[in-house]
């Protein structure tokens, strides 16, 4: 994709015109500076590839944190008409319902800073991290896994992890309906059984953060966020169970692609008509994996809460830990959206993109309906993260979607090269951030230089009117997988 073939529509929006097999154009939210980084890899070609899929409504969208993925770009959104469109496991990704949750506390930064090593160490030991991590809770048998797949976060609450109030603050109340555990392979069950309540590896993390700036006092107060207090971010997903389901269903949809005569430019875009048996099976399996991920983050929250209570010797009331919001950023959902004055029932694929519903949406809990949906945008482990809210304009332009993070700019090889001869732990410690990691390569590959500037990403979406900034957080302590 050459820079010349892309049209600048405004200071924050670019268009890949509809050409050749593309059914719709591609729209990219980015500033001129971010666009230069976006041109460095193959992600724009991937936007154009997604625009070729049957039933796509309006445009293939890219958020400013877009980067080269496999099949779909990471930071991509595509809404497919439910009757004529397709669903693609590659448009959701291997880590189904990878997502983020934000918890608020009554703790102040001043009281916590001297104890940050104890807290990070405590969490590191109580929440299993790293490859194939397991053993947070007793290994589930097949029956229990099935219940998790059907109930999601509700299963965790019924089993003593958190309170039922939490369900109000999770996308879809922590349970996607019409999950189908019957179409899931034994391998996926096996991989899921020991991994509930584990963080995993790669870019997954738990972060203890300081609420550094408030941009909207009223909304921050409604969300329980106060400057100078401590908050916690959790980033993880459906673990091996989700990876296996994606793998299994790419095979199914590769066959479906041939069976239904769908032309795709990349095998990883394998898809099936949403209404076909293959499409319905994948939807059911994906929802089940999403429920596993909601339960996973719910269990991890409870493990963190019990660690904080023990290390700090506090009562739950004094700690005041409460879920602010839990979002999915690798998922496909059937939603109703209006596009150019016409109502569509669409399957919105968000791969490395979050839902960002505006005020008044019936899908939001009563407490948040007047302000809009919280949007969580974590940055890299050395800089900052944002809490924003969705807007009416998001509903009009992006099928209620926004960015999900900073987005990588360096490959893992490049990051490792750049980290050579540097002590990243010390560099982060100098910046007041205490980090513990399980994987040997994790810190180098996930170094701050490997990511775009998250502030620039968030500011672009705010400039576009898709989200509104509420608060900025800076890290104090990080647990990486």
């Amino acid at each position: 994709m050459t820079a010349e073939s892309i049209i600048q529509k405004s200071e924050y929006l670019w268009e890949i015109p509809q050409t050749g097999p593309m059914r719709v154009p591609g729209f990219i939210y980015a500033t001129e500076n971010l666009m230069k980084q976006i041109h460095q890899d193959e992600c724009l070609k991937q936007v154009a590839n997604v625009a070729q899929l049957p039933g796509i409504v309006g445009y293939a969208l890219a958020m400013p944190d877009i980067h080269w993925g496999y099949g779909f770009p990471i930071g991509g959104v595509a809404a497919m008409d439910v009757t004529s469109g397709v669903i693609s496991p590659g448009g959701v990704g291997y880590d189904i319902n990878c997502g983020v949750r934000l918890l608020r506390t009554n703790l102040t930064v001043n009281s916590i800073r001297p104890r940050i090593k104890e807290l990070v160490t405590g969490i590191f030991h109580n929440v299993p991290t790293g490859v194939g991590s397991h053993g947070a809770i007793k290994k589930l048998d097949r029956k229990d896994v099935r219940k998790v797949l059907l109930k999601g976060a509700r299963w965790a609450i019924e089993n003593g992890f958190g309170s039922s109030d939490d369900l109000n603050f999770i996308e879809n109340s922590g349970t996607l309906k019409e999950a189908n555990p019957e179409v899931i392979s034994e391998r996926a069950y096996q991989r899921g059984a020991p991994q509930l309540g584990t963080l995993g590896s790669g870019n997954h993390f738990i972060e203890i953060s300081e609420v550094r700036d408030i941009f909207d006092e009223d909304i921050a107060a409604q969300l329980g966020i106060q400057k100078g207090n401590v908050a916690i971010f959790i980033h993880t997903g459906s673990r091996g169970l989700g990876y296996q389901i994606c793998d299994d269903f790419i095979k199914v949809t590769l066959q479906a692609t041939a069976k239904y005569g769908i032309a795709i430019p990349d095998r990883q875009l394998a898809c099936a008509p949403i209404q076909s048996p293959e499409g319905q099976d994948y939807l059911g399996a994906m929802r089940a994996a999403a429920n596993f991920a909601f339960a996973n983050r719910q269990v991890i929250s409870a493990l963190i809460e019990s660690t904080l209570l023990k290390v700090l010797n506090l009562s739950p009331n004094d700690l005041g830990m409460r879920l602010v919001w839990d979002i999915a950023h690798n998922i496909a959902k059937i939603e109703t959206h209006e596009f150019q004055g016409k109502k569509y029932s669409v399957c919105v694929h968000r791969k490395g993109a979050t839902r960002a519903f505006g005020p008044g949406s019936p899908d939001l809990p009563a407490q948040y309906r007047s302000i809009g949906q919280p949007v969580l945008v974590p940055g890299d482990m050395g800089t900052e993260s944002y809490l924003c809210i969705g807007t009416h304009k998001a509903m009009q332009e992006t099928f209620g979607s926004s960015c999900h993070g900073a987005g990588r700019v360096l490959s893992r090889t490049q990051a490792k090269k750049r980290s050579q001869g540097r002590n990243l732990y010390q560099e982060l410690a100098k910046a007041g951030i205490f980090v513990m990691a399980e994987g040997r390569s994790t810190i180098a590959e996930e170094m701050p230089d490997a990511y775009k500037n998250v502030t620039e990403v968030v500011n672009t979406m705010q400039l576009a009117g898709i989200i509104k900034k509420v608060a900025r957080f800076t890290p104090l302590g990080v647990v990486k997988g």
Binding site: Q190, T413, R440
Partner: protein, 139 residues
């Protein structure tokens, strides 16, 4: 002609180009390269053996299935492979003996999690008297 492995500069994931003079050597080298992304192979003793048999309709897919099976040994049995032998291969089938041992948290320092072998840019090509296998792994 030497068998060698080259890492691709993929932004979010890890990709490899593997070069070899024959298909069995290519599959074997790609398998070891995959495991090396996860763990130092010198630390994995060839204490146990497993027989792997994989089938697929075409060579690209066979290549992916083979690598996926090696990864599955770790994901499902926590079995790490350090040696691959007796590779028998045609365009739709591969069998091999793989040697390794169960994952030991103390002795095996895991570098990173490998989620899955993707289909993006997947391919086995014969170019200039050698085979090139390309694959990208979701990490």
């Amino acid at each position: 002609m030497k068998t060698y492995v080259q890492q691709l500069n993929h932004t979010s994931d890890l990709g490899l180009n593997v070069y070899a003079k024959s298909l069995p050597e290519l599959f074997s080298a790609a398998g070891r390269a995959l495991m090396r992304l996860m763990v130092d192979l010198d630390s994995v003793k060839p204490l146990e053996q497993r027989k792997l048999e994989v089938q697929a309709d075409e060579i690209d897919l066979l290549f992916r299935e083979w690598l996926s099976e090696l990864l599955a040994l770790f994901h499902n049995e926590e079995f790490l492979v350090s040696r691959i032998a007796k590779v028998r291969l045609n365009n739709s089938q591969i069998s091999a003996l793989v040697f390794g041992e169960k994952y030991d948290k103390i002795r095996h320092k895991i570098q990173r999690e490998l989620k899955s072998i993707t289909y993006h840019q997947l391919g086995v090509k014969f170019v200039g008297k050698r085979y090139i296998g390309t694959f990208i792994i979701d990490v």
